[in-house]
Symmetry: D2
Subunit: 458 residues, 4 copies
C-alpha cells in the first residue's frame, strides 16, 4: 500500500508505477533510512509527540527491519514505491498502527534528501581508502625506480629524460587532489541536515532540528526548508569529483596501454590483469585499463546528465530529482570496482628500466645543450636557436649529437668547447632537475619520503 491515496478515486496505472517506483535502486538506502527514522523518532519523543513506549517500539521495530534487510529477507510488496514506503510498511507489519506515528511532521522530500546525504557520508570513506591504496601502490613502484631513466614526453614526442618514479608520482599527486575533492563532496553532504524541512515549508512540531542534525553526524540543520528539499549540489559535487578522478585514471591508463605495447615495452602487466582474445591466441589485452579509460565517458555523462536534470527546474521538490540516485550509485560502484583492480594491476606490473633507457635519444638533451650555451653567456633565446641548428645539422649528417664533430658545433657557435660532449649524459641531465618538483633522484626520493609519511598517516 502506498503512503497516500485518500484523495484518489482511481488507483495508479501499473505502467506509471513501474516508471515512478524507485525501490529497484533506492533499496540500498535502507540502512541510512532506518538510522534517520530512528533519529526522527527520538526527536518526536523529545518533542512529546511520541511517548517513551511508542518511541521504544518504533526504534526497536526499525532495528528489526534493518536486520531483515541486512539478511537479504526483504521482498518488495505491491505499493512499495520506494525505500521509505517499504520500511514503513514493514515497520507496520512488525509493530502495528503505532508505526503510523513515525511520519508525523516529516515528508519523503526531507527524508530522501537526508538519506542520500547520509549515504554519501557513509559510503565515501571506503572510496577514499581505495584512492589511498592506489597511491600506495604507485608509490611502492616509484620507490623502486628512482634511477630508472625514461623518455619524458610532451605532445607525445620525446622531450627530456625523466625517471619512472617521477612519472609514477605524477599520478600520486593527481590522486591527492581527488582524495581532497571527494572528501569535500562528502563534507558538502554533511554540511546541513534537511530532516524536519517537511515537504517544503518546515515542520510545525517543536523539533530541535539542530540536535537532530548533530545526532546524525551533520554540521547543522538546513537554514531554509524550501532549498533543503531540492538541494542536490552535493550529488553534483560527488559526480564532479568522480569525473575528475576518472580523467586522472584515464591518463594513467592511456600511458600504461601505450607503454605496454611492445614498441614501447616499458611495462608488462601481470597475466591476472590482462585478458585474451577469442580469435587471436597470442593476445594479452589490458582490458582493465581500457575500461578505466572508457568508463570515464560514462561518469562524465552522469555529471552532465544530472546537471541537465537540475537545469530549469522550479523551486521546491520536483519528481525530476529522483534521477539523482542512479548516476550517484553507478559512479560510486564503478569506482569501488575499478580502483582495487587498478591498485592490484599497478602493484603487480613489471617495469622494464632497460627498455626505457634504450628508448632515450640524445636529441632529448637539446635543452641541456642550450643550457650549456647559457652558462657561457648566450641568452637563452639565442642559445635555443643555435641548438636547433645543431640538431638539424646532426640530422642532416645522420649522426647522433654526441657524434657531431666539434668543428660543426663551433661553426654554429664559438662558445662550444670540447666539454660539450659531457652534456650527453642522461643521468646527469636528470640529476640537474634538482629544485622541488623536478625529476632529479634526490628530489624524487625526498618526495617519496614525504608521501610515505603522509599516506602512512591516513
Amino acid at each position: 500500500m502506498t503512503l497516500w491515496g485518500g484523495v484518489f478515486q482511481h488507483p495508479t496505472d501499473d505502467a506509471v508505477r513501474r516508471l515512478n517506483d524507485s525501490l529497484p535502486f533506492d533499496w540500498r538506502l535502507y540502512d541510512v533510512d532506518i538510522t534517520a527514522s530512528q533519529a526522527w523518532a527520538g526527536a518526536l519523543h523529545r518533542a512529546a509527540i511520541l511517548t517513551s513506549e511508542e518511541h521504544q517500539a518504533i526504534v526497536q521495530g526499525l532495528e528489526r527491519v534493518r536486520r531483515l534487510f541486512a539478511s537479504g529477507q526483504f521482498v518488495p510488496a505491491p505499493g512499495d514505491e520506494d525505500i521509505h514506503t517499504a520500511v514503513e510498511r514493514w515497520l507496520t507489519e512488525a509493530i502495528g498502527p503505532v508505526a503510523g506515528k513515525l511520519h508525523t511532521g516529516r515528508s519523503r522530500n526531507d527524508q530522501v534528501a537526508t538519506d542520500l546525504r547520509l549515504w554519501v557520508m557513509q559510503a565515501t570513506p571506503a572510496l577514499l581508502d581505495h584512492i589511498r591504496d592506489l597511491q600506495r601502490a604507485l608509490l611502492a613502484q616509484a620507490a623502486g625506480h628512482v634511477h630508472s631513466v625514461m623518455p619524458g614526453l610532451t605532445h607525445f614526442q620525446p622531450a627530456q629524460p625523466i625517471t619512472a618514479a617521477h612519472w609514477l608520482l605524477s599520478t600520486v599527486a593527481m590522486l591527492e587532489r581527488d582524495w581532497d575533492r571527494l572528501g569535500q563532496a562528502a563534507a558538502a553532504a554533511a554540511s546541513q541536515c534537511p530532516l524536519g524541512s517537511g515537504a517544503l515549508a518546515g515542520t510545525p512540531y517543536p523539533i530541535d532540528r539542530t540536535a537532530l542534525a548533530v545526532a546524525l553526524g551533520f554540521q547543522q540543520a538546513s537554514s531554509n526548508s524550501l532549498d533543503a528539499v531540492s538541494d542536490r549540489d552535493f550529488v553534483a559535487d560527488f559526480l564532479h569529483a568522480a569525473a575528475l578522478l576518472m580523467t586522472h585514471l584515464s591518463r594513467l591508463a592511456e600511458d600504461l596501454i601505450i607503454y605496454s605495447n611492445p614498441r614501447f615495452g616499458f611495462v608488462t602487466l601481470d597475466d591476472r590483469y590482462s585478458t585474451g582474445s577469442s580469435l587471436m591466441p597470442q593476445k594479452r589485452n589490458p582490458d582493465p585499463l581500457e575500461l578505466a579509460r572508457g568508463k570515464t565517458g560514462r561518469i562524465i555523462g552522469h555529471l552532465a546528465g544530472l546537471l541537465t536534470t537540475l537545469k530549469g527546474l522550479p523551486s521546491g521538490y520536483n519528481k525530476d530529482l529522483q534521477e539523482d540516485k542512479e548516476p550517484l550509485f553507478d559512479a560510486y560502484d564503478t569506482l569501488m570496482l575499478l580502483l582495487p583492480v587498478l591498485t592490484a594491476l599497478i602493484a603487480s606490473m613489471t617495469l622494464h628500466p632497460e627498455r626505457m633507457r634504450a628508448a632515450l635519444d640524445e636529441a632529448m638533451l637539446a635543452t641541456d645543450l642550450a643550457d650549456y650555451l647559457v652558462a657561457r653567456g648566450v641568452p637563452f633565446r639565442h642559445a635555443h636557436h643555435l641548438t636547433g641548428q645543431v640538431v638539424r645539422r646532426a640530422e642532416a649528417l645522420g649522426v647522433k649529437l654526441s657524434a657531431l664533430p666539434l668543428a660543426d658545433y663551433q661553426a654554429i657557435a664559438l662558445q662550444f668547447g670540447p666539454d660539450v660532449y659531457d652534456v650527453f649524459d642522461f643521468d646527469q641531465a636528470v640529476a640537474r632537475r634538482r629544485p622541488v618538483g623536478g625529476a632529479a633522484p634526490e628530489t624524487v626520493s625526498a618526495q617519496i619520503n614525504q608521501w610515505q609519511a603522509r599516506l602512512g598517516q591516513s
Copy 2:
C-alpha cells in the same frame, strides 16, 4: 570457461572479471547473437568449412539454446564473460566439440558489432510504434479542441490567441521528426554488416560476406574491417535521436505541468496518471511528466558519455567500446516505459476550454490592432509603435483595450475609427491565421486530416 587462455600462466583476477564481464547487461543480445551465429554457420557451410551435418547440428543446437534463454532457464556459469561466450558454452554442452567450429574465421569483435546492429534493427520498430501511438493520442485530443481558444505564449508571456488543437499539434509535428530520426538511426545500424571482419583484418575464409549481410537484413557488407569492428556511430545516432525525442517530451511535459497547476487549470490529469504525497493529503502530482522532463538529462548524459568514450580512441577494437551497450539499452528501456505512459496520460487527460478562454486578455490582440492600422495604410513598424502606445494608455487608465474610448485611440492615431472595437474578438483573430501552419480552425482541421491520413497508414 573463457574462449581463450592458452597463452596465460595465471587465471584472471576475480575483480577483473567482475569489471570486465558484460553478461549482466549483454545477455539481452542472446536472440540476435544466435541469429547471427546461425547465419555465420550457414556462411561457413557454403564456404565448405562446415559439412552439412556440422551445419545442421550447429543451427539446431543454437535453436535449442535460444529456447532455453527464451524460457528463462539460462544460468550464468563461471567464465561466461559475455553473451557470446555463454552461447558457445551452452552450445558445446548441447552438441559437443563440433560447437568449437562455429568461431572459425570470426572474432567477438565483429560478432558483437553485428549483434548490436541487429538488436537496434529488431528493437526500433516497437519504439516507432510507441511514437505513433503518442501522436495519435495527441491528435485525438486535438480533434476535439479545434475551436478551444487559448492563450499562446512566447517568452512564457501572453502573446496571441491560438487553439488547444494548434498547441497539441505542435508536439505531433515534433514527434514526426523523431520518428524519422529514429528510423534513420535504425537504417544506419542496418547499413552495413560487420560479420566476417574478424578481429580487425578481415576473415581468411572464402565467406560470401555480401550474401551473409543480406541474409541478416543488412544493406551490404562493411567495406573496411578495421572500421567495421570499431564503428559505433549507429549507437550515437540512436542516442542522439533519443535525446532529441526526450527534449520534445520534456517540452510537452513542461507545458502540461504548468497548465495543470490551478493558476492555469487548462488541464486535469486522470487520477491514474498522478500520484500523491506521503505528507500532504490533497496532492495530485504529475509525476510521469516530471520524470519525462527529468529523464531527459539522463539520456543527454548517455549521449555525451558515449561520445566522450569514443573521443581519442585509436583505431580498431578497444575494450572501451564495451561501454556502448548500457546507455543504449537504458535509453531504449526508458523510452519504451515512458512513451506508453505519456500516451495514456494524454488520452485520459481533460482539457478545460472555458478556463483557457478565461485566461485570454485583450492585450494579446495588440498585433491585430496594429494590423488594423496596416490595413489603413500605416507601415507596420509605425503601427506597432502606435499600438504600443494604445496598450500603455489603457494600462494607465486601468481599462481593457475594448473599453478605451475612441478619443484616446484617435489621440494616438487618426486612422482609428469606430470599427476598431471589432478587433477584440479572439475567435476572429485566430481565424485570420489561415495560411498553412497557422492556428485558424480551418487550417488546423485540414492539418488534422492530413495527420490522420498519414498516421493511419503507418
Copy 3:
C-alpha cells in the same frame, strides 16, 4: 617571430598558425603573464643567472609592456602565437637581446599553467562580489515580505503556504554554496605554483621555487613537474562551480518567468529588465531570465567539453590543453555579465502579495488538518488517509474545506470537532512552521538577521 624554429626546414603553414595560435583569446592573460615573468626574473636573479642590471632591465621593460597592453596599444605581429610570445617579442623590442635571458629554465608549459592559475586567483573575487550583491538584493526583497503568504509548490502543484521571504531566501542559501564553491575553485588554483616545472622535468637552475610560489600568492610550489604542467583540475573545478551556480540561477529564473506570467502575477519586472517584441506591441518579455536559464546549457556544455578534452590524454603537456581557456573565459564573462543584471532585476522587481494571497487554496492546509487529528491522537498515517477523504468529499460537494459541514467531517472521523474550522487560517499555518529552516515569519526574520550579519561582513 616564434620562440622556436632552429630545427625546422620549412615554416609553418598559415592555416596551421590560425588553428594553433591562441593569442586571439589568451591576450587577456597579459597582466598575469607579465607579473609571473617579473617574479621569474627575480628568481633568476636570486639564482645568479641574471645580474642586477639585467634583472632591473627586464622587470622595468615588462612594466612598460604592461602599460602598452593596458592602454590598448598592442598590435599582434606575425609569429605572435600566444601571449607569452607576444610579451617576449615586445620586451625584446623594448630592451634588446637581454630579453632573451628571461626564458632561461622555464617553458611555456609551466608558464601558461601559472598564468591561468593567477588569472583565476585574480578574477574570482569580482565574481564572488557579484554573488554577494545578488544575495543582498534577494535579502532586501525578502525583508519586505516576511508576512507575504504565498502558495508553496511541490511538483509544481499547490502544497503548503509559505511566504515570499521564505521563497527568496532559498536562493540566498543556494548562492551561499556557490560563493563557497567558487572560492574553493580559486583556492584550488592558488594551491600550487607550477612555475619552474620547465616543460615537464623541472628546471635545472637553482631556483627557490617555494619563495617564488609564495611571492606570486600561491600556497606552495607544485610537487611534481610532470603533473604540474598538465594539471587543469582547477579549471574543471571553476567550471563545475559555474555550472552549479547557473543551475541555481536557472531555478530562480524559472520561478520568476512563471510568476510573472499574468496567470500567477506574483511579480512584475521593471521595464528596464524586460524587452519587447518586433511583432506584438503589448509584449514585455523577461529576456534576462530566459537567458539565465538558457545559458545554463552553455556552461554545462563547457564543463562537459573540458572534461572530455581531458579524458584519455597521456601524461605531460599536450596541445589539447589549449582548449582550457575559452570555456573558462566564457563562463566567467557570462557570469560577470549576467549576475549584475539579475541583481538589478531582483532589486527593481515588484512583488504582489495580494495576488499571492489570492492564489491560496484551502486544500493547501490539508496537512494541517491531518495534524489536527494527530493532536487528537490519530497516528499520522491514518490521519493522512482520513484527511484525503475530507478533501475528496469537499471536491465532490464542490465546496471549500471550510464550508464542508461538520457532519461530513465527523462522518469521516469522530475526532473532528467544531474547532476544526480554526485550521483554515493561512497565516497561522505558516506561523506554525517555527523550527529552524521553517517558513514562520519569526524564524525567517531571525534568518534574515543572520544573513544580514554575514553578508554585511563579507
Copy 4:
C-alpha cells in the same frame, strides 16, 4: 532604435542590452537574412500588401544593404539588437519609412528560424567539400601503400598484420558516414520553411507560404507555426554530425600522434604541419593533431550544451533559443579551419613502410597458426587453445614461433607438420584476408578503385 518600445515607460538597462544583444555573433546571418526578407517582400507583394513600387524599393534597398555588409562598411548603431534590427534600420536609412512595411505579418521568431536554416543550407556544402578533400588525401596515401604491411592493433596490442592502405581506408569509410550525416543535417534544415509563422500563431495575411518556401530552397512550408518558431532540431542534428565527425578525426589524430612518436616511427609529419618548443630546441610537435583531438571535447560540449538548453523549455519561442547560434557557428568554424589543415597534413606526411614491417612480430600470426590446424580438422576453439600453448612455449624458450622446433609443435598437436613454418609469412597472411572488407591487397585495391570512382564524381 529597437523594433519595439511603444509600451515601455523606461528604456532597457545597458547591461541588459549587452546580455541580450545577438548582433556580435548573428551579424554573419546578414546575407541569408536579406535573402529571406527579399523573398518575404515578394510574398507580401503577391498578397497585395506591398505595391509593385514598394516591393521594388524594398528589394533594391535590401540589395544595397547587402553590398554594404559585404564590403565591410557595417557599423552597429545603438539599438541594433540583432541582425534583423540592423538590416531594417539600414534599410530605413536607405529607402525611408516604406521600409517599415517589410515586417508586416512576420516576426523575428519566424525570421531567425528561417535565417538559421538558410545559413546551414548555404554553409554546409563547403564543409562537405572539405570532407571529400580529406578523403581524397587519405585515398592518395592509401594508393601508395597497398602492400605496406604494418601491425594491426586491437586493445592497442599487436593483433594481426594489415596494410597501411587498409588502415587509411578505415578513416575514409568513417568520413563517408560523416558526409552523409552532415548532408542529412542540411536536409533537415531545408525540410521546412518557418517564414510566415509569425510569432507563434501563423500570419493573418494571405501569404502563399508554400511558394515562399520553395522560392527559398526549402522542401515545404512548416506545418505548425508554434513548432516552427521553436524547432532547433536541425541545429542539434548539425552539432551531432559535427561531434561524431570530430570523434573520427580524433581517432585518426590519436593514431598519427602515436605513430609519429619515434618508438613507432611509422609516420613523419612535414615541418609545415608541426610546431616547435620554446624550451626544447629539438622538438617537432604534432599540434594540429592534438588540437583535432582536443577540440573534439569542445564540439561534444556544444552538443550537450544545446540539448541542455532545449531541455525543459515550454512551447513556443523562448529567448533561451538565442543560445543556438554560437555553438553552431563555432562548430562550423572549427571544422572549416581544421579539415583543410588535416588534409594538407595527410597529403604531406611520409609513411615509413620499412619501420612498419620491422614492427611485425610472428605472434601476430597465431591466428593463422590456429587456422592451419583448422584446415587439418581441428575445431577452431581447440585450435585456438593449442596455438596459445605454442605461443607460451616459444615465449618460455625465448624464441620466435618460426624458430620453435617441430618437436615442440608436435608435442602440442600432432597435426602440426613441417609445412607449419610456411605460416610465418606476413604478406601471405594479409593476402588471405581476401573477402570484401579484408586487408588483402587485391581487396583493398578494388576498394580504392571504388572510392576513386565515388569521390571523383562528387
